[in-house]
Point group: C2
């Protein structure tokens, strides 16, 4: 396929890669998606105008809280906002004006230069699940995640053809101290994969550690001049920006590193129980957050984020893959494009506890909607289970296989003369069949998306092979991939420097588990 990069060994490029060892095996990774299909737009101009006007009203009248952050309040005062206590009232139009310095598209470098990604425009970058404290597989069941699990997920991500990004906290390594695990997680992304990755946001000091580790991997000068991390800054919806997340944002923005600025909303709990109301609040929050990033450093790369689920009003549980989430995501995509910002939303979302049919319906709903809504950066695009509490090994490879369909959908319809196939239709004629015709012979290998997982065999063969369901096939694929894993080449001096840095940092303070 034309959009796939096949590599046999690491190529030169970037300080790290230039010194990389030769001869290591690598795995095929598709280029990030560039859409050749239109976005789906569920809102008309008038609706968009109303939401934008309402968001400005919220910012001015209700305001947003910047908590425990006198520096932020001062920045807002200097920019012309009306600050009362920790409440920042932003005059109409000010936030949008400040957002104008944020780039509409940016490149995130990877230590393998061929795996750099373009975030924004018509592009879609796929990254794995982020944040779950638990993992699950069919052998071990559901259990707290460990660093060993984390490394397995990074390896699976590295070997997944349709995944462009290694992600961040693919699961929480709960066996490592909270104040030190970011070091191990970053080292795993840097050494076990050569795809781009995310930095730590759980404390400003950990964001600084992330930048310093990147300086070891990429070289200090390279980091100063390039975006090498895209990190996740959640807004404490409704309308609250806490000091930890803002502290991390400040570190990254000052270092020219990218952040997703993302309301985290369970509709009906953290936002109104309506699509229009939720979109209004999402826009107000993103406007304030992105504007703040530009107060820290004009031009800092940021992404318009929207993590939105609906709620089951019986149990209070968040629900995923629902029509309400789809409408909010379609609408948020339109709002992001009008702001000229890259857009993050959607993922392999589901509420199911197992990688079963519920999980797959919900996930497919969300993945399809993510592609059509114009998402530019899809975090959680594989492995998500049980409302994000669990990273599932089997679901990781199931979802990662489905991500191939998004690549093929995004290519649009080939209208070349060969694709029009008039000669084939003339050749075959009424009552014939196309299996052997010249056009089919020339095109069948690349014409259709191919699964690496699903079973299309005849019933009898499938039964003879044990009548295996998708989860069973996925478990086999997980084992097969992990058994064939080989680390991408990395200059041993860099690996050693990373080890030294991690050891030194770990020695510098006692373990903390809170």
């Amino acid at each position: 396929m034309t959009d796939t990069t096949t590599r046999r060994r690491a190529r030169s490029g970037g300080g790290a890669a230039r010194r990389a060892e030769r001869g290591a095996v690598s795995f095929e990774t598709a280029r990030f998606i560039t859409r050749n299909i239109p976005d789906y737009e569920v809102l008309g101009e008038e609706a968009l105008d109303i939401i934008e006007a309402n968001a400005e009203t919220i910012l001015e009248e209700v305001g947003v809280n910047f908590v425990d952050n006198p520096g932020a309040l001062q920045r807002w005062r200097d920019a012309g906002a009306d600050v009362r206590g920790e409440r920042v009232h932003i005059p109409r139009g000010l936030a949008r004006k400040l957002c104008a310095t944020a780039p509409s598209q940016f490149t995130q470098a990877a230590r393998n230069p061929e795996r750099a990604v373009e975030v924004g425009g018509r592009n879609l970058v796929l990254a794995p699940i982020y944040g779950p404290p638990f993992v699950r597989d069919s052998v071990g069941g559901r259990r707290y995640a460990t660093m060993a699990d984390f490394e397995k997920f990074v390896k699976l991500g590295y070997m997944s053809k349709w995944l462009h990004h290694s992600g961040g906290t693919v699961c929480e390594p709960t066996d490592i101290a909270v104040n030190k695990r970011h070091l191990d997680m970053l080292r795993a992304h840097m050494t076990l994969s050569d795809k781009p990755f995310m930095g730590s946001v759980t404390d400003p000091s950990r964001a600084r550690d992330s930048v310093e580790m990147c300086e070891i991997l990429f070289g200090k000068e390279f980091v100063a001049q390039n975006t090498v991390m895209t990190s996740l800054i959640n807004i404490n919806s409704p309308l609250t920006f806490d000091d930890v997340m803002m502290g991390a944002l400040e570190v990254y923005a000052e270092a020219g590193q990218a952040c997703i600025i993302s309301p985290f909303i369970v509709g009906g709990a953290m936002a109104p129980v309506s699509i229009a109301g939720t979109l209004t609040q999402v826009l107000a929050e993103v406007l304030a957050g992105v504007a703040y990033s530009q107060l820290v450093r004009p031009g800092a790369p940021v992404i318009f984020g929207a993590f939105v689920s609906s709620i089951d009003m019986n149990s209070g549980a968040p629900t995923f893959g629902t029509p309400e989430a789809s409408h909010i995501t379609y609408g948020a995509g339109q709002l992001a494009r009008r702001l000229g910002l890259p857009f993050r939303s959607a993922g392999s979302f589901c509420g199911s506890k197992l990688p079963d049919a519920q999980a797959a319906y919900e996930t497919a709903n969300s993945l399809n909607m993510g592609l059509l809504s114009g998402v530019n950066f899809m975090l959680h695009s594989c492995g998500w289970l049980e409302g994000g509490l669990v990273a599932s090994f089997e679901k990781f490879v199931m979802d990662a296989d489905q991500l191939g369909t998004l690549h093929q959908l995004a290519r649009g319809v080939d209208m070349s003369e060969d694709a029009q196939a008039m000669d084939a239709i003339r050749e075959v004629g009424p009552g014939g069949h196309y299996l052997g015709c010249a056009h089919t012979q020339a095109n069948f290998k690349t014409a259709f998306w191919k699964t690496e997982l699903f079973d299309y065999k005849p019933f009898e063969t499938w039964e003879d092979e044990g009548a295996r369901d998708t989860q069973t096939l996925a478990a086999i694929r997980v084992e097969k991939l992990l058994a064939s894993y080989q680390a991408p080449a990395l200059d041993p001096a860099i690996a050693e420097a990373l080890d030294d840095y991690v050891a030194r940092k770990k020695d510098a303070e006692p373990d903390a588990f809170l």
Copy 2:
């Protein structure tokens, strides 16, 4: 919900219903979907023009075969086509001109007048799976379908809130003679459900039987003046119209009854292995088929059908829920709208042998694409398994639950002042929560789509209840629904007349099993 019709008893209307018994319990059925959202259009004007021009070239240069049907050839000759042997060459523009008399929208009546459906325009009517010789459930496994299975599916369809149509051959009752099973199937739809249904197409005489049974159910005059059946006429792709299907089409068109005229295509086998080529052939075939229906009776209601799957080039198996099928369906929807015809495509398609994750990914891909592509009549919208070889009881209720999401998506975004929720955002403010606010209290019951199947319970509760997967929950739901089934009221005289008709017809000829 505003688009749901709740009934406690049969209301008057139509000859049959007027005489219906009072007091019978009924089940809630949603009104057919009327889209308040845009269609997704993957092809530009230029691409559509090319496909339309190429389709005319096919019809003129290559032509189509009408097999064993001298009457059809004579009709084509009279209309100005160039007929050579059984090959009909249709001059450019003739087929499209003939299609102009077909209505862009029609009403299919049901014996319960509230369950009449509007086919065409912005509407979407959902009907169950059609045609499988096997059934499957988690207790009995995969086995040949029987009339008892058939009746169960009709009952489930009747009780499914989001299903508007009872369908036709929901499974093949293989325990009944081939030449008689249409009688039992039609009687089941007529007596066990009050939703609209389909007629038999496996022989012209069986189509005539279908019309006669409708005359008993609705009254002769009503049938003469109303469309009471929508039946499925498959084109023998490529470009071949066989005498059995055309014979049934002739019967229905002459009787003013509706037909779906539908190429049946596994891409790469019955059509070129390219999207543009397949769309060209689909359009040529539908143009010829619809034009022929209008030669039989101008104004006969017909639907632009497109059954399209891709192919696994390794095994030759048809594949479902693939990106290629999506593109073809999006494109075919655009072509149907340009022809001004109702459009049939999509469904709960999957290749999986089990109602597992593969089945659900593939199905969700197809259902979502069906909604956005502007489908007006979705056959196979629930219950499809194993490439259509199997009707699954569990998947029937799983898919039927997901059909609720299509209803909610189609409603679009409410931009009323209440939905804008500015008062709620002002009331809650930064750091608050919406669970108890006035707006949430007023709206939570109807704001979000609700599943009747999926599990959103906390992990511990779910585990205590047996850690059930979707298939297990679905099996319970099937049993529960069937246990609570009560037939819709029907005038005993009509039921008796139907029984007499079926008995008389069965006695008139020996059983045939071929």
